[in-house]
Subunit: 485 residues, 4 copies
């Protein structure tokens, strides 16, 4: 796509694939609203008082139908919003079009190049001469990263006049980041400093981003307060677990139409994501094998009847391989060479480096046959056998299907709205320092409570006497902080 910002009739900026899909997007947004009771309840509860009036929110989070409902909840509460996706394949173009037309500045399309991806991120952060956003909704931490790297480069430049050097790194993506910062520095050597000054805080969606935040907190380099939404119970134990239980088979089916029953599937990692994936595959009739580094998670797998082996033990016998680890270098090209013909390899955990895509692409004589977008067969020259790689090693549920379903995203995104409100409401109180926080348990319980009615549930109420007996307030929170659910 040509990287030229467009404008709506009303003057709002955007860059999406196809504005004519906005009506289709709107229809699906309306369906999703019925499935997202937490977000709709936020509109009812907070909408009238317009708490976000005056707030600029930048989001870097998969631009899907569900995210559209999140964005329109933020705008319903008074915010101005700019948005990009946090994954090159995860945008649903009809969702992007509807939001761009109706509600917010969107820069996102399915199938961005890395260059385009970072251009979109920069656009979402750029609120014009007045600087950056007040708040960030981040997923994986790329928006946060850009600001931190920008500030770092500006400091070096101020001290030493040295510009960032993209050729200083082998990492293709980081070269692009440095290029963007370098080019920005030339026009405004205080751009990211000004952003940092304005920023009230970030709420981070996922494990990977949270890990980065805790590392920055530990090293004292975190530039603004952060709320770790990922570790709300109603996020990590719902979205990661039940979301993936739903969307892993969805992605497999849409990408390959393969029968799961009877197959041998390897799930690398048995955290919340791995647990959801293993459960889905087992229930669909696959024989599931787990790989793990952590003995506790390994023992959990065993208690569910899943053998725990190493990838080497099973690489030549399995039909489906799924990475869920949040780590890198899980399935290497040397593993892939040994797999059965048409073994399926995919990632639902983290960046595309869980799978050694670089090694695969540079394997001598390897041939790539694109069956359809996000479904490639890679054929090795020695054996003429091929493996099927989904979404180029990126999150397959977003690349090959439509991500998690609305209901479970309503849990996650209600946490996001509450986190953003908390940061904004306390922006002058000093409550939040440059640290990473999780939401208090009573808010976590509130998120859950907002989702019960839709499913017809009726809670039991504690009597005062019972509450005293177990030493909790009648209205909750009901569990100690260390409770694991």
């Amino acid at each position: 796509m040509s990287l030229i910002v467009e404008k709506t009739a009303g003057g709002r900026e955007y860059k999406v694939k196809d504005m004519s899909q906005a009506d289709f997007g709107r229809l699906e947004i309306e369906l999703a609203e019925v499935e997202m009771p937490g977000l709709m309840a936020c509109r009812t509860e907070f909408g009238p008082s317009q708490p976000f009036k005056g707030a600029r929110i930048t989001g870097s989070l998969h631009m899907t139908i569900q995210t559209a409902v999140l964005i329109e909840t933020l705008t319903a509460l008074g915010a101005e919003v700019r948005w990009c996706s946090c994954n090159i394949f995860s945008t649903q173009d009809h969702a992007a079009a509807a939001i761009a037309r109706d509600s917010a500045a969107v820069f996102a399309w399915k199938g961005e190049t890395l260059q385009e991806y970072w251009w979109c991120t920069e656009r979402a952060l750029d609120w014009g001469p007045g600087g950056g956003p007040d708040l960030i909704v981040d997923d994986g931490g790329d928006a946060t990263l850009l600001i931190h790297e920008g500030v770092k480069a500006e400091e070096i430049y101020e001290k030493s006049g040295v510009l960032p050097d993209p050729s200083s790194t082998d990492n293709a993506e980081f070269q692009i980041v440095l290029t963007i910062i370098r080019d920005g520095l030339k026009s405004d050597p205080k751009r990211y400093h000004k952003m940092k000054e304005r920023l009230v805080g970030v709420s981070e969606e996922t494990t990977t981003g949270v890990k980065r935040l805790y590392q920055m907190q530990a090293s004292g380099t975190l530039l603004f307060p952060a709320i770790n939404v990922n570790d709300s119970v109603t996020k990590s134990k719902f979205d990661n677990l039940y979301g993936c239980r739903h969307s892993l088979p969805d992605g497999l089916m849409r990408a390959t139409d393969v029968m799961i029953a009877g197959k041998v599937a390897v799930v690398c990692g048995y955290g919340d994501v791995g647990k959801g994936c293993a459960s889905a595959l087992k229930q669909a009739g696959a024989r599931v094998i787990v790989t793990e580094i952590d003995p506790i998670c390994a023992l959990q797998a065993l208690m569910e009847g899943l053998p725990v082996l190493t990838l080497e033990d099973v690489v030549s016998e399995a039909d489906i391989f799924v990475t869920t680890t949040g780590n890198k270098d899980i399935i290497m090209v040397d593993h892939m060479r040994k797999m059965k013909n048409n073994a399926i390899v995919c990632n639902i955990g983290h960046f595309d480096n869980e799978i050694d895509m670089l090694g695969l692409e540079s394997y001598p004589g390897v041939k790539r046959i694109t069956i359809k977008p996000q479904t490639d067969r890679w054929v090795f020259p020695e054996t003429n056998a091929g493996i099927i790689v989904l979404a180029e090693g990126r999150l397959m549920n977003l690349g090959c299907a439509t991500g998690h379903p609305s209901f479970v995203m309503s849990c996650s995104f209600t946490n996001q709205v509450i986190a953003q409100l908390e940061l904004w409401n306390e922006r002058t109180s000093g409550k939040y320092e440059k640290k990473v926080y999780v939401l208090p348990k009573h808010l976590d319980e509130k998120v859950a409570a907002l989702h019960l009615g839709k499913l017809g549930a009726r809670l039991t109420k504690l009597s005062k006497d019972q509450a005293d007996y177990i030493n909790v307030p009648v209205e909750g929170p009901y569990k100690p902080a260390h409770y694991r659910y």
Copy 2:
């Protein structure tokens, strides 16, 4: 589409949506071949002797990727083939294109009108001046029906000179059938008699078609031998059960992206199809309720923890409704009016008359909003609440997804190949009368055996002593005819 037959460079007739999708179809056919070991084994075993040399086969069966592998197995064994789909939404256009270009005369596309549908059926049966096919592969019995109705009309016409009168029926589809026969009669009053004369037999794929055949056998009107493939164990207990367990959630996800976990789902009917659907929904986290007329199937549902209630009991509380009965008038417009907003209604059992589509369409003031093809929201004027109907009431796994996966279809279709071979090889022996037959158990066991290696299974072998002890041959068959599996 304009109903004009096209021709390949080599002169073979066809009518498909888009010939440019043939390459894409070929890639997916090649993937499917790896998943269809039974069909590939037939090619290896029978290909060299070309048993179908000289045989004309007409197929009326969903024109999907899996069917493409079936068709090319038939041609690999020497047959000439003409094909149409048996469902207006079930064709995969890339599969049709690849077959039309490379292997057989295809008349099929996704989204036919009823008019177009019967035109395609007629084309598939029309082998030119030399008459009709030698063999039919039927699914649901429409090709068989056309011939039987044609013969009946010709007899009346011969006796009385009276032509079929389309206005004699209310059924819109049957009006089209009568029109086709009437028009045919004018040009050749013996057309269907000639077809009947040539026909060696039909092999029928599914419950609905089989029921029709047994009724014709009972009334003495069956015109040629029929093999009931549906009731091979390796068909009904695999395709119907495990196929639907796979493809029901696939269809739901592709059509609606709705989260299944937490929802209340009603499965109407607990036969093999219903069992597969209920199992899939339960495992995805839905609360499943079953409706049944048969006390035995009802008791089976209860033993699996599924409550058995009537549709009336639950119509206003459930979120998802699936019909699997093979009967008509299961979900009526009066039920639909009482459903929750955005309740999903779909059919995976039989024709679109399981759901009262006629009643819905003619409901005063009802409004249809097409979200995307095969996904319609119907809004009732009184409540302004809508329900979501999939695939216009037709088979949702074929209309909204890609049908059953290759591996399970390989079981079904290997039965088809064996049935066709049996009919053809015995065409002059008198072995088969004008009756309905099932394949003998040793062939059923053979079909299963051909699918074990792909899944890494190793069978135990009976000793002679053990075989004698349980009174079976060492090589099988191992079970009495009444065994239920």
Copy 3:
């Protein structure tokens, strides 16, 4: 026990372990009645007309609490009853005591020797000078066998004066049978002929007995009509499947207290019993491996995610071995030698010859340590490793636990009552020849229907129009004979 018949105050014969347990037995019988709606419905429907008035019924079927409710249903309908167990370990002594005291002549206790077992069988068949029973309820066919062998011996004796020679066979149990017949012949050379003359027929409970009956039918040696209760759908697809799903883990837990989760379990055979066992073990968290001879059942296992391998493949890795085949020589001593220390070996399929008990007992240097009754550790001298054998290789759910639960046995036993009524009512009509019959489908459906109310189910009713559409009567039966459920 001394083999002397005792008598109640009222003069009825019996031999049980401990008459003081009668009150306890009565309490559990009363609980079971609430769980056995089919039998209780028979009492209500048929009790008033006393259809069995004048009928003598001999039963050879596990003398459990559930059987007690069956016996008292037969007596409530007017029958006189004599009973023995069909397994040396399956009697529940409190049930036997209650029935002996209150309702029928019982000869059964837990832990009979083989000698005692056949003495009990003979007692149950001996109605005094007037000859044998009118009807037999058999399970496994031992009562039927004794009569057939008796008649055969009497014929030989009549022709040639030669008595049966127990030393003519290696089979220890058959030696006892021949001894009993020989001793009987001396006192009455027409004893079994007289029995045969009087006998109206037998209803047989289980696969093993049914196989024997079909073999006798095939060879023309069957002496009286037989109804195959085992193959009623409401028997084989319920008792065999759901009964074992319940009672296999029950037996494992009571016998060994072993944690099933995390273990590797091998299920030999994947028929109805094997399916129930595999399901229970999988759901309890075991990794289940199946062995099979039949490719169709093997493919079913694979579709449920269970690998199919041979015993040799897994013998040294598995923790639990269960035989369900109905065949002999499944787990041989040579397998047992290679098992892990404290591997558990048990049988829930058939006679104790599924496991090579003979080979184990005669293994040089093997040591048997009885942990508790029916739980033995056998230690091999080479390795000093032991295996744990349950119920001496006999049915472990009856030997180590209390067999199947009441509700599922109500299905089986309601079939028995209906079969006995059918034989008795038609005793003079000639309807039943010396062949094996299954109950007609409408009675099978009736049995199911009698069990729905207890579980709160509500059936849907067909309209006349719908019934016509699928060509069945409104009131059923709803399925063709070949339907597999």
Copy 4:
């Protein structure tokens, strides 16, 4: 039983039911050792250095076979041990006999009165003139409670000369506690102070005891350091969850033989114990309904397909009721009156006050019929309908079956051994204050690791590069403290 302490030949005190069962106990202990790899590994690792040499350990924890292996692990590491059970029904008499004969001073039998129970507790704490134990292994906190109440009473007595007054409380059990303390005070007014002085600390097994400890910590009344073993991941997420998944159906089956399939079961509470129970019941074919106060746990139940309702909604329709809440007054007599005839009511969560046993016993006209020990039918006079209460409202898995299986208890008890070692090794270092501690994550991971080999698992090893990437040590611990598993 007469409350007179007996002595072994070697002079060790004990009081058990039947010393002749010691051999049987020993056989089962030997079987259990094979299933408890964590404890056996502790013996191998720590046994040679005799770290507990000189330590006196008092345990108050179900005196089962598994606990026997724990006790003999403590003695193998050099400790002297005195033991009582923490539940009147949970002792396995053969286990108690074997330990009393071979290893430690045991005061425990199945079916203690409350009076006997507290006598046993006092005996276990009484190490003679030299005072009390160095360490306590507690389960539910009764040993800890007795010391805290004793110290409190002694302080009051010292200040004011006032003795505890048993009639000051309505609670029958607390009356006994006060009586014991009062009687002790008369003979030694510093008895519990001396105990407190000597005590190094307690390790507590279960949720209920842990709650008491945190309350004492909060109020500043905790007298010695405590390690919360319950909240080790390898305890609460294993024993509570997988243990109950195993032992709930075990208890139901042994107590009632009832068929679980088809029944409606209510699980009150969806914490770890409730999750295990619900999973077991669902998998056995029951329809499970959950009651909850906590919206997060409620939403988890819904995601697993379990409806969340109140007890009032379902009380008259369900067949089985299980309490797992850790709270009191869950099922009241007013609920029980409305239940179906023969509904089963049981508790697997906490004390017998989860069920209103007091209300039931004092209900006018109610009749108790003991079917067998721990299985009572209570008949209400108005309806003549009865309910079946298991284990008199106490923990049914211990009262009606044999508690959790060895393997999962090995996880829990390895934590206990490690906790006791930690307290003892640090007894003079000041590391532990009068607070409640959990074990550090690396020890938790170690416990898990010790249990993998038995189940044939193979862990994947992190490379240094991967470990750095996710910022953890190569050897673990692998997760942040807040991780929920």
